[in-house]
């Protein structure tokens, strides 16, 4: 694949991939890293895309969700602990737990719901995003996640149940 072809696909799909990743992982920085990794995977495995088996959108959704799950598993990697940072002579700034992007969300109800979503398991967040943001059908979700239709149904049921519980503060 030529770089210009990759750029064309990137420009066409970057917003969808980024927003999907952001809604799943809940962090702009993480979503940008995922966006980058997704399109590097597209570049490396362009031959793996078969239009007969599904649309480019479905293929990108699949890579994005897999990358989100993979990123979440690896997030504790590579860094210095606070003690190690102090040993390196760095004073840590006092930070609230609230992410900067949360502050832009003005509506209290939306903010509460978003907060609840972010406390959920990444696989549940993925299925909710694909259904309620992307508007995919159950069978499209099943193809994207490579799971049986019944798994999609049960995962959605559990996710909605959890969400309502969290919203009630239970």
């Amino acid at each position: 694949m030529e770089l210009k072809d990759l750029e064309k696909i990137f420009q066409q799909h970057k917003d969808t991939v980024f927003k999907t990743a952001y809604l799943i992982v809940g962090s702009v920085q993480e979503a940008e890293d995922i966006l980058q990794e997704v399109f590097l995977k597209v570049y490396k495995s362009a031959s793996g895309f078969d239009p007969q088996k599904g649309s480019m959108r479905t293929w990108l959704h699949r890579i994005t969700v897999n990358q989100c799950i993979s990123e979440k598993r690896k997030r504790r990697e590579l860094s210095y602990s606070s003690e190690e940072m102090e040993e390196r002579g760095v004073e840590l700034a006092d930070k609230s737990n609230e992410l900067p992007e949360d502050m832009a969300i003005k509506t209290e109800e939306v903010a509460n719901l978003w907060h609840a979503i972010k406390s959920m398991d990444v696989k549940q967040r993925a299925v909710l995003t694909l259904r309620y943001f992307e508007g995919l059908s159950y069978s499209e979700i099943a193809r994207t996640l490579d799971v049986p239709l019944g798994t999609v149904k049960s995962r959605l049921n559990v996710a909605i149940k959890n969400l309502r519980r969290l919203m009630l503060g239970g």
């Binding site: 979503a31 980058q36 570049y43 860094s79 602990s81 760095v90 943001f133 909605i160 969400l163």
Partner: protein, 327 residues
């Protein structure tokens, strides 16, 4: 059919993702069960709120243009590396010694850099590649454009590391480490991002080579700096300089090579891993102002596209800590 079984079907019913037989069962049940009618109404409201919340949250989120720049850079390096591999016929690593090759041609910023790159090529294999994540690149951009950071090193310096603060990427806080330009340029293997007060843009040549196995050897005297960057808020939250007047007993070429071999011998890492940065761990004690004797080094790695950090004890010849996270 009981309420519990029916309630498992209600979401599929609302979403019109249910078979005809089950649809009839639900309809019959709802006609005689007020609790399940209330439940289906609540589910519909939840779904509606969820769509609204996603739309609201997503509307305010957009990726930085730096993401495409990062992708382009990595693809170009990959293409150059592939080309180099194809062109190499004498030996597996023969191309590393051919500085006329495109990999090196793009890397060469000047004759002064050429000498150490050849040393690097001979001493360390496989070649390291410049791979910043989008967030790391953003942290660099924020830091190097900030006047307080520029002032730290009198407007001259090199970004030699970017690490998430406190082991937590979710806070968006990154430490950007700055070294005196002359030290790293003259004494280590590869550089990353030069900046100066007159031209803040990142030089193409230095970027194309990128951060590799930096080892900070020899005379380290000068002003070093560190900036804590809040990537989410696009600001530098703290910056300070460290005056170093020591001649450090630092890593030699052989020690970098040794550290590389130790990590690559570990089954969790493997020989395919790309070594991105080798530096002394806790080499400088801010309190006493002295360098420590221990020979523990940080080795930053790219394994299958993911970034890892290993701590290697050169005295013990062991990789004793690998930050793989998550598990």
């Amino acid at each position: 059919m009981d309420c519990e079984r029916i309630r498992e079907l209600l979401l599929s019913y609302i979403d019109n993702e249910i078979g005809d037989d089950e649809r009839k069962l639900v309809q019959v049940h709802l006609a005689g069960c007020r609790e399940c009618v209330a439940e289906i109404e609540a589910l519909a409201v939840t779904g509606s709120k969820l769509r609204q919340a996603y739309e609201t949250v997503a509307a305010g989120a957009s990726p930085s243009p730096a993401v495409w720049q990062g992708i382009r850079r990595r693809v170009e390096v990959k293409q150059q590396t592939n080309k180099a591999a194809e062109d190499s016929s004498a030996s597996k690593w023969g191309w590393l010694l051919n500085w006329r090759h495109p990999v090196w041609r793009t890397a060469v910023a000047g004759a002064a850099m050429l000498s150490f790159m050849i040393v690097f090529a001979i001493s360390i294999a496989p070649v390291t590649l410049p791979i910043w994540t989008a967030t790391e690149q953003r942290a660099i951009d924020i830091a190097t454009n900030d006047p307080s950071v520029q002032a730290l090193l009198d407007g001259q310096g090199i970004v030699y590391e970017v690490v998430p603060v406190n082991g937590d990427m979710n806070t968006g806080l990154y430490q950007v480490g700055l070294a005196p330009a002359e030290e790293v340029n003259a004494r280590s293997y590869g550089d990353s991002t030069n900046f100066d007060s007159d031209s803040i843009s990142i030089p193409e040549d230095s970027e194309s080579f990128g951060l590799s196995a930096i080892t900070l050897c020899g005379d380290l005297s000068g002003t070093w700096g560190a900036a804590i960057v809040d990537v989410g808020n696009n600001e530098v939250v703290q910056s300070h300089s460290i005056a170093v007047d020591e001649v450090g007993d630092c890593l030699s070429t052989e020690q970098v090579q040794e550290a590389t071999q130790i990590v690559q011998a570990d089954s969790r890492v493997g020989t395919e891993a790309l070594v991105r940065n080798v530096s002394l761990f806790n080499s400088y004690d801010a309190e006493s102002g002295e360098f420590r004797d221990e020979m523990v080094v940080w080795v930053r790695l790219i394994i299958d596209g993911e970034i890892y950090l290993a701590q290697v004890d050169l005295d013990q010849q062991s990789l004793f800590k690998l930050f793989t996270g998550g598990e």
